[in-house]
Symmetry: C2
DNA sequence: CTCCTAATTGAGACTGAGTCGCAGTAGCAT
DNA sequence: ATGCTACTGCGACTCAGTCTCAATTAGGAG
């Protein structure tokens, strides 16, 4: 697994290549995002930064998250139709995976399946569809809740 | 495939069983929803009703859609992380299916796979997770767009 | 190091989907 | 027909996310 520093400089290279500036706010956000191992929403991110003494406005949080997505450090996920706020996750700590979400207690279980992935590729082939990303979510009841 | 009338009376039975009333607005909304064979959002539904001379307020649209979901006539789907408005579809015309969404032109291709479904059930078993519903969306480029 | 300019920031106004409270309306059981 | 409730529409409200704009700052040129 690559070190965080590598990823930070990947982001800096991205900024430079786009003629964007490397500001205190952007660095702080990138650093924080890479440390969060869970799903997070913009508000959580802001409050975690604030608790470390870094004040960043809501607008900057959103703007920087977009850059982090474009640069490949962060991925946007939607946990369920019911969630009204967007969720994000960083792409280092969290490899590709799908979600099972418990309707009872809200716990999120992650899973992957190579078999499903390859069936999926097969289906895309049939439709001459070139897949870029996908989400696969199962809602139901976990062991404890049914 | 069951006739629409059946479904309408299923809805009426549901209303009655809940001590809810069968109003002109609810009937009009149910009738219209069963005729739409595409995905739709609340606004489209409202404008289709209006063009038929039935004026129904936004609040009633939302309230009735919730009842239609509870009664099983309608299903809520989210087409993509990017869509900010909710999408719905009726459950008769549209059986269970997954979506491929083209990032280029927005076209939605539907697919199903029994193999994927059973792999999915297997995975749920392993986690002692009782599935209720799921969504599986692939974003990418369709034949025409890549 | 200083200057200069374009990019960035924060504050707050704004937008648009969805919800809520309330006063008037209308099912429906008797 | 009456009366009890649920229902409707309206408009106010909420809340995530976006946008505008004036003030600030990064960072390259000199």
């Amino acid at each position: 697994m690559p070190a965080q520093g590598d990823k930070i400089s990947q982001f800096e290279r991205y900024l430079q290549s786009q003629g964007l500036k490397s500001t205190r706010e952007r660095k702080a956000i990138a650093r924080e995002v890479l440390v969060i191992s869970e799903h997070f929403d913009p508000e959580l991110l802001q409050s975690r930064l604030r608790s470390k003494g870094t004040r960043v406005s809501r607008a900057t949080i959103y703007r920087t998250l977009d850059h982090l997505i474009t640069s490949g450090l962060v991925r946007k996920t939607s946990l369920d139709v019911e969630h009204k706020t967007a969720f994000y996750e960083n792409t280092i700590v969290r490899g590709h995976h799908e979600h099972m979400v418990c309707i009872g207690c809200g716990i999120v279980i992650e899973f992957t399946s190579d078999e499903i992935e390859s069936l999926q590729d097969e289906i895309c082939d049939n439709y001459r569809f070139k897949p870029v990303r996908h989400t696969h979510q199962i809602m139901g009841y976990c062991r404890k809740c049914h």
